[in-house]
């Protein structure tokens, strides 16, 4: 995300006079003249009010941290939107006005994070009018943004929160080779998508290899790409253009003025091209790359392209064959976002195995359980558990605390927000779930879900109002 936007974001919040603990308080910086970093107004933002201070006591804390993954009889204090303190018993005394939650027999985890969601861009009810995730008019649409299609009234959002999910990355679909920018959202009920943005999180570039683009264009329209050759050709072609675009802008930034005779005149900046702008930000490391890719050989091809043009792949998505190249993925530091057992819908998804996540984890690569589904996102804990036990039963040495990281710390890393969320740690955002039993049980329910310290879901609440206007008096 542009520095400018963040600066405005922070400035606006300060202007409202409310404490906004989860928003970074950046200095207001002057708007540069560079039109490639144009000002994007942060209109209609209202701050998230900090939730009531909360103290959860007597619970097992599953921290998803590497050092202290489990604290028995633990307590955790949420204050001003952050995790203020935590530890083993004895718990501190409740302070005046603090909500105290008895966690006896219950479990606390970080809020769950899904790296691959189409909530809001393929909203419920699933009708053509809600089909906004694939701009399938050109195989390269890197300039479009999921943020600008996301419908904050999707009834699926509340259900995801009820499943313990607090942060999602919303991605464009996989019909295009370069489908557009993804956005990282906090699942607060808000009127605008911009107001749901995870403060400071980078955008994603969603790419896709394999069958989908060549089917959409080659098979159905007899246009390029019709083959995997065409896929890579078009990608390489655009990376070359992006490199040139980046050079032009670098040159202009270095020399925005020139001498002409005796006068110093302003040089006209290069033309702004949105597709190349996104790609050049990838090359500059300001946008993270997420690639839909099933087959092992195709993932290796993408890694070759990345080396050729000097960018890094943050996460391969779906990646049902990641286990075949897990040594390479570990060495390259690429994470893998995949399912527990979804498979067989196309030939590139034919070699899925139940131990994929466990094997990736064992090899030392970052394993991530993603959903790509408005149903699956309600059961991320179950899906991680299935993949965990599939590994255990097959003798793969994987631990329960590692497996919890598949839906917390590791996706946080893939989205570049692991400094703020993904583990229970003092100073991190108070995105916290209280489960009525161990979250790896099929019967476990997310009893209370806090986002930025705000209680957003509570099974104990008497009447639940729907978040979505669509569900009002339906």
């Amino acid at each position: 995300m542009d520095l400018i936007i963040r600066a405005l974001f922070a400035a606006l919040l300060v202007g409202c006079g409310a404490a906004a603990p989860t928003q970074p308080t950046l200095e207001k910086v002057p708007v540069p003249l560079d039109p490639a970093v144009a000002v994007e107004p942060a209109t209609f933002l209202a701050p998230i009010e900090p939730g009531r201070p909360t103290l959860i006591v007597n619970a097992t804390l599953l921290t998803a941290g590497e050092e202290t993954p489990r604290i028995e009889h633990g307590w955790i204090r949420l204050r001003d939107g952050l995790i203020a303190s935590m530890g083993p018993s004895p718990a501190p005394k409740a302070e005046t006005g603090e909500r105290v939650v008895d966690g006896q027999g219950k479990f606390v985890t970080p809020g769950l994070i899904d790296t691959h969601s189409h909530l809001g861009v393929y909203a419920r009810p699933g009708v053509w009018a809600h089909s906004d995730g694939n701009e399938m008019t050109n195989p390269i649409t890197a300039g479009v943004r999921a943020e600008e299609a996301f419908w904050p009234q999707d009834p699926g959002i509340q259900r995801a929160v009820e499943g313990g999910v607090t942060t999602i990355q919303v991605l464009p679909g996989s019909g295009n080779l370069m489908g557009g920018r993804g956005v990282v959202l906090k699942l607060h009920p808000r009127r605008s998508t911009r107001a749901m943005r995870f403060p400071g999180a980078k955008d994603a570039l969603k790419m896709a290899c394999g069958e989908n683009p060549k089917r959409v264009y080659g098979k159905h329209r007899k246009s390029m790409p019709m083959s995997r050759m065409g896929n890579i050709y078009l990608m390489r072609d655009k990376w070359i253009a992006a490199r040139r675009y980046q050079n032009e802008w670098d040159e202009w930034r270095k020399n925005p003025k020139k001498k002409e005779g005796d006068k110093i005149i302003s040089v006209k900046p290069p033309k702004r091209v949105l597709v190349l702008e996104t790609l050049s930000k990838v090359l500059a490391g300001e946008i993270l790359v997420h690639i839909h890719c099933y087959r092992a050989d195709e993932m290796l091809l993408q890694l070759k392209l990345a080396d050729e043009f000097g960018f890094s792949v943050r996460s391969f998505h779906h990646a049902v064959e990641a286990y075949k190249i897990r040594d390479v993925l570990a060495e390259k530091g690429v994470s893998v976002s995949t399912w527990a057992d979804w498979w067989g819908f196309k030939i590139e998804a034919h070699d899925a195995i139940e131990q994929n996540l466990a094997l990736i984890d064992e090899a030392g690569a970052r394993a991530i359980l993603h959903t790509d589904s408005a149903e699956g996102i309600q059961r991320m804990n179950q899906e991680a558990a299935k993949a965990f036990y599939a590994g255990v039963h097959a003798g793969v040495p994987v631990t329960e605390s590692q497996a919890l990281r598949w839906i917390t710390a590791n996706p946080a890393w893939a989205l570049g927000v692991d400094g703020q969320v993904g583990t229970l740690e003092v100073g991190k955002m108070a995105d916290v779930v209280l489960w009525n039993r161990h979250p790896f049980s099929v019967y476990a329910e997310a009893e209370k879900v806090f986002i930025d310290g705000r209680l957003r879901h509570d099974t104990g609440a008497s009447q639940k109002a729907p978040w979505s206007d669509f569900e009002v008096a339906q």
Binding site: R124, P125, G126, V127, P155, G156, R159, E211, Y323, K324, I325, R326, D327, D341, W342, W343, G344, F345, K346, I347, H350, D351, A352, I353, E354, Q355, L359, A363, A374, E375, Q378, R379, Q382, A385, K386, Y389, H393, A394, F440, S441, V442, Y443, A444, E445, F470, E471, Q474
Partner: protein, 393 residues
Amino acid sequence: MNGILLALIALVGADVHLGDGEVIRDAKILIDGEKITAVGRQVTLPKGTTVIDVGGKVITAGLIDPATTLGLVEISGVAASNDADAGGDPIRAAQRAVDSYNPQSVVIPIQRAHGVTTVLTAHRGGLIGGQAAVYNLEGSEPIVAPAGLTASMGGRGGGARGRSVVKLREVLDDARQYSRRKGDYERNRARSFAASRLDLEALLPVLDGSIPLFLSVNRRSDIRTALGLAREFGIRLVIVGGAEAWQEAAALAAAKVPVILDPVANQPAHFDALHTRGDAAVRLTKAGVTVALSTFSAHSVRKLRQWAGNAVRAGLSHSDALAAVTRNPAQILGLANRGEIAVGQIADLVIWSGDPFELSTRVEALYIKGRTVSLKHRQQALFERYRSVPIRR
């Protein structure tokens, strides 16, 4: 002993869930050939019985998914391997699942490794989809075929829903006329009918009540229409999907119409399903409706036990959830000797390491018709092939 038929086998020491809500701890199950001949704590084992110690395990009847496309689809996106939906003419009553079922599908062993021993499989699509068949997930012969006719109603098929009801009524009426005037039809003295001879023939067992009509229908108003059609034509109706069926629970219970549903559906996914509820199975069961759960899939049939666990999570009792994946689907599919553990039942049994619905539980052994069945499958073989990378070739 894989695949070898032993005359007498006793499974000894497990907690046996009979399927009617009763659990016998530390029980013995005696299997003679294909059938269970004794079950209980006090069972005298005849001489020569092969005793298998399953102490500490849990045994249930094999799970049954009553609404799959298993065996009809190898890879959904590969047209040549996908026979689930023929497209074309909306009336496909003559189409038979048995003509498409591929018992060599690699998809099948992957599903049964999670405790599913029996499925109904049927073509999708069309107004009338075709003749379903019930298979054990071992062997190539169906247990029941035809096991029913599939059909669909509602607003998802394109075109006005009213027109599709007219078509359905017309075809049913023509089938009735045809059955009364077969002679005239053969002599070319009958008016033309809205379906081909084979389609009309296939509808006859539905009209005489010998097989049920598995009707995919979701919206409440369509369910009411369906109940009316069933009364009008004397059809044995089974509601499939039934997103809003819970709203007609009393009427369905009164008409003894069972419902096959997806227990994890809880969203207004489409306009026929605006009132979907995650606790529909609970509400229907309480009202006295026979409820079975389904994955409505081929590749994900193995999730059936997880789906049952989610039904429990939504408020169904554990024994009702088990019934919804064993006894109830058996009853709906007309499988008189499957779905429970009792004397005279076919020995389709699952030996679990613990609670069948828990994610930590694994299938330790599987019996179909009294024989153990391999738990190996292609995914497991790929895992073993890639246990270390790079693999040696």
